[in-house]
């Protein structure tokens, strides 16, 4: 009799753990990511409001749209998808990051250019963190190391940056396919 009770208790505990891992934890990581990116977008807005860059500037608009798309499609940013995108032999895709780099290079001020590139790097690191921390076990494994490692190390790794950018590009294309234009104020 007691073994049945033990099985029942274990099943209940496992079901609770399942709810925590696949619902609460993922939801929490998604919210934490969105909070981080919203604050980044606010800083970018203030940067433009202070007159450093025009709201009409192409690089500003691209970066703003990228943060919006990262916010909207954050639930699609998974490790499996990133690995799949990195391994898939794409040959005919236009690079979204190339358009961004051209727009940034067109900015005359070195300081503004550097700042926008930094905003973009922070966004990429945030996406990478989301992908890693979505799994509770990966979080336990990687989070202590991340306290020691600076974000710069990640952005200097071309494979990480390229993986995240490809993932972002896919989300941008999905967004375009869904509604052609981003929603105006709302």
């Amino acid at each position: 009799m007691s073994s049945e009770i033990l099985v029942l208790k274990s099943a209940l505990a496992l079901a609770g753990l399942w709810i925590f891992l696949f619902y609460f934890w993922r939801d929490y990581r998604l919210d934490a990511f969105r909070e981080h990116v919203f604050s980044l977008r606010d800083r970018l807005f203030l940067f433009a409001a202070e007159g450093n860059v025009s709201f009409e500037d192409r690089a500003y608009r691209i970066l703003r749209d990228r943060t919006n798309i990262a916010l909207r499609y954050a639930h699609d940013f998974t490790l499996i998808r990133m690995v799949l995108i990195m391994c898939y032999p794409f040959r005919n895709q236009k690079s979204e990051s190339q358009e961004w780099m051209e727009a940034v290079q067109a900015i005359e001020s070195d300081e503004v250019r550097e700042s926008l590139l930094e905003f973009n790097a922070v966004l990429s690191v945030a996406i990478f963190h989301l992908i890693i921390y979505r799994s509770f076990f990966r979080y336990l494994l990687v989070r202590p190391i991340m306290n020691v490692i600076h974000g710069d190390i990640l952005t200097r790794r071309p494979e990480v940056v390229s993986g995240v950018e490809q993932l972002e590009s896919e989300a941008i294309k999905d967004a375009r396919a869904h509604d052609k234009h981003l929603v105006a104020v709302g």
């Binding site: 208790k9 998604l30 709201f55 898939y88």
Partner: protein, 134 residues
């Protein structure tokens, strides 16, 4: 190599994306299968335990046995865990209500400065839109 015409390029891009989406869909389905397979298996074992107890004892009896077997430290752990979940869910609801209250005004003020202001397209509470989750 001669670069393809724009129309061919668009078609090639479309075909490639379609092929990728098919693989992505298969991988996603496998992932979902593993995820929900785990909970189905757990529920199955719970169910089998209940079936094994059926006829031998009532539900109230099973409940008393589970509670009766609890040690004080275990009981405290359960209360701690449940309390943590209730606290977390409560905090989340408060935060989402706060977002719903504060954000519209901020957006309105921002659009005075930036007339072409674009939005994230999330819900008013800052969560994923149901149609995007599909």
């Amino acid at each position: 190599m001669v670069p393809p015409f724009p129309a061919n390029q668009a078609q090639a891009e479309y075909n490639e994306r379609l092929a990728f989406k098919k693989i992505d869909a298969v991988v996603s389905v496998i992932g979902l299968g593993l995820k929900f397979g785990a909970i189905v298996l757990t529920v199955r074992y719970g169910y089998l335990a209940v079936v094994a107890l059926a006829g031998k004892s009532t539900f109230a009896d099973v409940g008393f046995r589970i509670l009766g077997n609890l040690k004080v430290t275990e009981g405290i752990s359960y209360i701690f865990g449940t309390g943590g979940i209730v606290y977390g869910v409560g905090q989340r609801q408060l935060r989402r209500r706060n977002i719903e209250r504060i954000v519209p005004l901020k957006n309105e003020l921002e659009s005075i400065l930036d007339r072409k202001r674009t939005s994230s397209g999330l819900t008013s509470k800052g969560t994923t839109r149901p149609e995007d989750e599909i």
